[in-house]
Structures are given as C-alpha cells and as structure tokens.
C-alpha cells in the first residue's frame, strides 16, 4: 500500500473551502430537528447521536455520562473501581441462527463491561412482557439468559417483570444492567489514542445484522450465516494482560464498525484510515450485502470488539487475541493518523479512497 501519496493531497482552494465548511458543520453540536421519534433515532447513527446530545445529555448531564463510553466508571472510594452499564433488547425475531434475545441480553451487557476493561461480575434482568405471551416462550428466554450468563461467568442477582396489555409491546423486551470490576491501573480512553496506533478488529464483521435479517424472512435468501453473539471478556482480558499497550476498546454493535470508528475519530480528534483489503468479511455476508445494497461496515456485530493498540505492540496484541477462540480471526484493519482529524477514510482495493461516515437512517431496524 502506497501511503506516501496520501499524505499531501494537492487540493485546490475551492475544494478545500468546501471541505472546511462541511467539517465545521459536522462539528457543531447536534441539533434535533425532528418532532417525533423515528426508527433512525434507535439505529446508533447520526440521529441517535442528536437525540443523545439534544435531549438526554442536557437532561442528565453528569460528567461521567458525558464521556460517552459504553459504561460508567464509578469511584466507590476503594482500590478497585466499579463499572456500570445497561442495555435494552427488542430484537425481532426473538430466535435467529446462532442465538436469541436471551443470548444478546447477556452478551451485550458483558461485552460493554469487557471493552471498558472491566471483569463482568453481577447483572440484573428486567422483562416487559406483552399479555398473551406464551409461558413456554418465556421459559425459553429465561433459560437462554441463564445459560449465557453461566458461559460468561456473570451472576444474575436481581430483576423485575412487568406485564403490559396486548398490543402495548411486541412479545417481550429485556433490559439488563451489568456491574463489573475494573482492576487497578487499567486506563482505556479516547485521550490515549495516538497517530500511528493500529486498529484491530477481533474477527469477521457484519455477521449478526445479516443473520437477523435472514431470520426475519422478509427477503427470500438462503444463506447459512450464524449470528456472532458471544461474550468477548476472555479475549479482552487476554489482550489487556498480554503486555501490549491498549489505548481504547469498543464493541461495534448498532451502526457497525463504521459508526464506532466515527465516534473514535470525533471524540479522540484523530483520523482513522481503514484498508478495504484487510476487512474480514465472510463471503456469505459480503454476498448478502452486495445483493441488498448494504455496506458490511454499517452492519451490527454482537461478539466482536475493536481495539486500538500501540504500533510496536501489534504482534503481541494479535498473538494474544488469536489464542482465544472468540477472537481467533483478529486482524489489523487500519491505523490512526493525524491527517483528516474527525474523519474515517477507507482505502479501496484499487488504492482510491472514500469517506466512511456515520450511519444515516436505519437500514435494519430492531436487530438487538
């Protein structure tokens, strides 16, 4: 890959002015122009960001919340710190190739703790159930949660169940809250990310979103694509204990790798450069995306994470990840640059470039 060419783009003034104007607009505080909540507000892309920035953060606005992490680090006046995270699950259908709403409810929360660097310990589970929901189906959800929690080694310690009238919910919604313990000395933050750092993904991307899309049966596609839902805490531990200098981690769920990388570029004020030829995408996922006009970079994952590591520790980091089953497919997909701060740029197979922006709208609603 010829990187030297890219460092000094001979841009004309007119074009530069346009780029500057756009970047200024992108950096303005998000405005919420909508009068109603639409599915786009739940998709993890730009609309979700504006709802967060315009309504939720001003409403609550604690310093910890404003850090915009997957979980909050709580100072309890002890040596180790506590990490708290919460997530709701509304996926339809409730069962799909490779998993179920119960698996997601546990793994989603475990992974949010894991990418904060914490060891998952305790969890609460709350259900909102629609009147008329079959008890056997409810039993199945509970059994899936219990099994997933056992695998992830997290203990369910409290919970709640509410029933709403027929039509007031779609079957069942699950909310889980997780508590983990952050060992001393671990420091993962946007501010640690430096130009030159490597971006590593723990395995193939887009599997979960496509698995749910196929399970939904709206499109008659026959492809064997299991969801990747899985707890990643063993892999994150292996990486953090490998001696590699890990700057930051995140799990690319809704909005996919593209949205996660954009959050990183914006919050850390760095540029992210991804290599198309390095992106691990299963052929069946790629084929489905080609057919439907989706971009795998925007499709959700439920058992993957992205880690930014110091460039000199690339090999140690990869070796540590490859030693764990869930991250056996880990590879470097890009690097951090001081060019184009705030932007994610993909180098295409041909050596051309294109922007990878935040997700707009919602190509696949209710995937988790």
């Amino acid at each position: 890959m010829n990187n030297q060419d890219h460092d000094t783009p001979p841009e004309s003034d007119g074009r530069k002015a346009v780029l500057t104007r756009i970047e200024e607009w992108r950096r303005r505080p998000h405005r919420l122009a909508d009068d109603f909540i639409t599915s786009a507000h739940g998709a993890g892309g730009k609309a979700s960001q504006s709802l967060l920035q315009a309504v939720i953060l001003p409403g609550f606005g604690s310093a910890e919340l404003k850090k915009a992490n997957d979980g909050a680090i709580l100072d309890v006046g002890d040596e180790s710190r506590v990490v708290l995270t919460t997530d709701s699950f509304v996926v339809t259908p409730r069962r799909f190739n490779g998993g179920s709403i119960g698996d997601l409810a546990v793994n989603g929360t475990v992974n949010d703790l894991a990418v904060m660097g914490a060891t998952p310990r305790w969890m609460s589970v709350a259900f909102v159930v629609e009147e008329g929901f079959h008890i056997d189906d409810f039993r199945d959800v509970v059994a899936d949660i219990a099994r997933a929690a056992m695998i992830a080694g997290i203990e369910i310690v409290t919970g709640d169940t509410k029933v709403v009238g027929k039509g007031a919910a779609d079957g069942i919604y699950v909310t889980t809250t997780g508590v983990g313990v952050l060992p001393d000395g671990r420091d993962l933050a946007y501010a640690n990310v430096r130009p030159g750092d490597k971006v590593i993904v723990s395995g193939s991307i887009g599997d979960h979103g496509i698995a749910v899309l196929i399970a939904r049966g709206d499109i008659e596609l026959q492809a064997e694509i299991p969801s990747d839902t899985a707890p990643v805490h063993i892999a994150t531990e292996a990486l953090l204990n490998s001696g590699a200098s890990v700057r930051w981690m995140r799990d690319p769920t809704r909005g996919g790798v593209a949205s996660t990388m954009n959050e990183l570029a914006m919050c850390a004020e760095v540029g992210v450069r991804l290599y198309e030829q390095s992106l691990p995408i299963l052929p069946a996922v790629n084929g489905t995306c080609e057919l439907l006009g989706l971009d795998p970079l925007y499709v959700a994952n439920e058992g993957k994470f992205i880690a930014v590591v110091a460039p000199e520790h690339e090999d140690i980091a990869l070796a540590a990840l490859k030693s764990v089953e869930v991250s056996r497919g880990a590879r470097v997909i890009g690097e951090i640059t001081d060019q184009h701060p705030g932007l994610v740029v993909l180098e295409t197979l041909f050596g051309g470039t294109r922007i990878v922006d935040m997700l707009v709208g919602d190509p696949l609603p209710r995937i988790c």
């Binding site: 909508d34 740029v345 051309g352 190509p363």
Partner: protein, 375 residues
C-alpha cells in the same frame, strides 16, 4: 466472491488505467457523463475518481429514479399513505425523500402503516396476507424496475385481487437523455450508458445519441473494472475518430434488450403525455402510467391525491446537479444545510444520488483535481 471478484481485480484495473492514461495523454480534456446513479455510486464507493487522469472528468447524470421524483409526487404519496386502512409499501430509499412539508418517514411516525419492501411482489404478498386492508405499492424506477411492477400487476389481476393498487412513478430514460443533450449548459464528449436499463431496452434506443448528437456512448456494467473499461472504450472511439453505440456490458445486455420484459411493459403501461422531473421540469412522454384496463389497480384513480405542484426550495440546486451543469459541492447548501440526515434535495437522499454519493464517499479524495472548471 464469484462473479464479483473478477470485476474488482486491482491488477487488471492497473492495466486498464495505464491504457486510459496513454490515450488521455494524446487527447484534450474529456467530459463524460455517467447517466445512471448506480454508476455514480460505484465510482465514489470504489474511489475511481482518484485513479483517472486529471484530464478525464466524469459528470453525473439524471439516472437516479428517486432523485427525479418531484416534491408534489411525494406529497401525493404521503396523502395516500395517511388514508385509513392503508398499508403503504415502498423501497427504503423513498422514506426520507422530502415532500413539501414532510417525508414518508414522518408519516410513519405519525401512525401511517408504511412498510419497506425489496420488490413489488413482496407488496402483493402483504396484500394477500391482509385481505381486509388496502395495500398500495409506490412504484419508482426506470425501465429496469418497470417489468417487475408489470408482472406483479398481471399477477394481481389474474388472482382477482381487490385490495392491491400501484402509484406509478416509472420513468423512461431516453427522453431524459434527450433533455440533457438539448440543454445549453453542458458540453459533453460522450456517455457511459445505463447498463441495467440496457438489459431491458437494449442498445438500439441509444442510436440517436450517435446519429443526432454525434457523441459516442458505451453501455457500461457496474463493477469498477466495467466502468474503467468503458471509459477506455470511449477514449478509444474518440482516438480512432469513431462514434458508435458500444456494449461493454455484454454479459448481461443484448442489443435488442429483453423482448419478454418489453412486452410486459407494453401490456401494462402506456406513456403519460407529460411528467414532471425534479430539476428537469416537465418532459413529454417521459413516464409510464397504467393502461385503462388496469384502472382498478391505479392508486391515483382509487384515492384522492392533491396533485399540487410544489416548487423546489430556492437554495436547492438539484436540477443543476441532475443535468450535470454543476458538481455537487458547487451547490450553496451542499454539506451544510443539506446533508444526508437533513436533505433538502433528492440528490442527497438516495445512495445513488450524486450529492449523497459525493458527501458519503467522495469528499476526501487524495487528489484534489475535481473543482477545476474547464471551459
């Protein structure tokens, strides 16, 4: 992936690019229009603009079916969708297209039952599953998608479906190309022909571009190598002093098109006397409507539609962009007031729209060669 990888081979691309460079070096600045939005999308998605020599400029054409829908038609669609007991089906692209006041996405949030489908057949399936509801399919697209709407309507009639109708916005490509060629704003050296439309109508209908306007046209496929090869073929024609309709997309396009599909279109549709295209204005015989014997399935006859023409917002220059007269970033509101999340114009909505493609993929290009205006 088979059938894809061989058309995305970087080594083969390099070979074509060096041929392109060789020919381009001997020729003046060339301005080629890719008519189809699918090409625009592919060019930006694969970063092809970066790879071509500076003297070759690709101009984006009007071939994005979502982009050419005028605001008044969107309002009509929203009006139908808001009627009681309607299930309104459309392609996902249409949800965010701004009408006079709102979008179909807003209508859905206000309670309209609007569903995204991938094919008109899916809408028909929804109709047979919901016999007590009326299902309306919003048909958009060029000749590429018209046959599938036709098959669906024939199927619906055969089954005697009473609760299914279509709001037809199908448009035809040839009058749009004519309108572009007659526009005084634009000096072109050739066309990349719309490959998918070509699968249906074939190559013969493009002959007028050669005969009347003396410009070469190459029907092009949609993979990166297809597009590069088509640019090469245009340059070669100019180099050899030829001017022909050439078919690069032979694996799919036949010279006489697809007679079965053409026959289906003819059975179900007839030409509208005129149709408003966003930015291009009214163009005679440029769109399709249902034939009289399908009147029962015509949503515009079945439901009251306001049919009010709405002028495009003053700041929006989609018309100029669709005609290739200005490039997306030359529009005053591009990337500021008009972005994919708050689009003012249609070109910013559909992923095939020139503005959306440029904003989403192209705005950071490693070679800043684009905004140079060449007279």
């Amino acid at each position: 992936m088979k059938y894809i990888d061989e058309f995305r081979d970087p080594v083969a691309a390099k070979k074509i690019l060096s041929e392109i460079e060789r020919l381009a070096a001997t020729q003046p600045h060339r301005k080629f229009m890719e008519i189809c939005g699918g090409h625009t999308h592919a060019i930006y998605r694969h970063g092809l603009g970066d790879l071509l020599p500076e003297s070759i400029e690709l101009v984006h054409g009007p071939g994005c079916p979502v982009c050419v829908i005028p605001m008044g038609r969107v309002d009509d669609a929203i009006h139908i969708a808001m009627q009681p007991d309607i299930i309104f089906c459309c392609f996902g692209d249409m949800l965010r297209v701004p009408g006079g006041k709102s979008t179909l996405l807003d209508a859905r949030a206000e309670g309209a039952d609007i569903r995204v489908v991938y094919s008109p057949i899916d809408a028909l399936a929804i109709a047979s599953k919901n016999p007590d509801r009326n299902v309306v399919f919003l048909a958009v697209g060029f000749e590429t998608t018209a046959p599938s709407t036709a098959v669906t309507l024939l199927n619906a009639r055969e089954r005697g479906m009473k609760n299914f109708s279509v709001m037809c916005n199908h448009v035809t490509i040839i009058p749009a190309i004519k309108s572009i060629l007659d526009s005084p704003d634009l000096q072109l050296d050739g066309f990349l022909g719309p490959g998918h439309v070509g699968t249906v109508i074939g190559n013969y209908p493009y002959q007028f571009v050669v005969d009347q306007y003396h410009l070469p046209i190459v029907t092009a496929g949609f993979e990166p190598l297809d597009i590069l090869e088509s640019v090469f073929r245009l340059l070669r024609q100019l180099d050899e002093g030829r001017c022909e309709v050439e078919n690069q997309y032979r694996r799919v396009v036949r010279d006489n098109g697809n007679p079965v599909a053409l026959n289906l279109i003819d059975k179900v549709f007839t030409l509208r006397p005129h149709f408003e295209w966003r930015g291009l204005g009214f163009i005679s015989h440029s769109a399709l409507q249902l034939r009289d014997d399908f009147a029962d399935f015509d949503a515009e006859l079945r439901y009251p539609v306001p049919g009010v023409r709405i002028a495009d917002p003053k700041a929006c220059q989609c018309g100029e962009v669709l005609k290739g007269a200005i490039r997306p970033w030359e529009c005053k509101v591009f990337g500021t007031a008009c972005t994919p999340e708050t689009p003012i114009g249609t070109c910013m909505v559909s992923s095939e729209g020139a503005c959306a493609a440029y904003y989403n993929y192209g705005r950071y290009s490693q070679r800043g060669r684009i905004p140079v205006k060449v007279v």
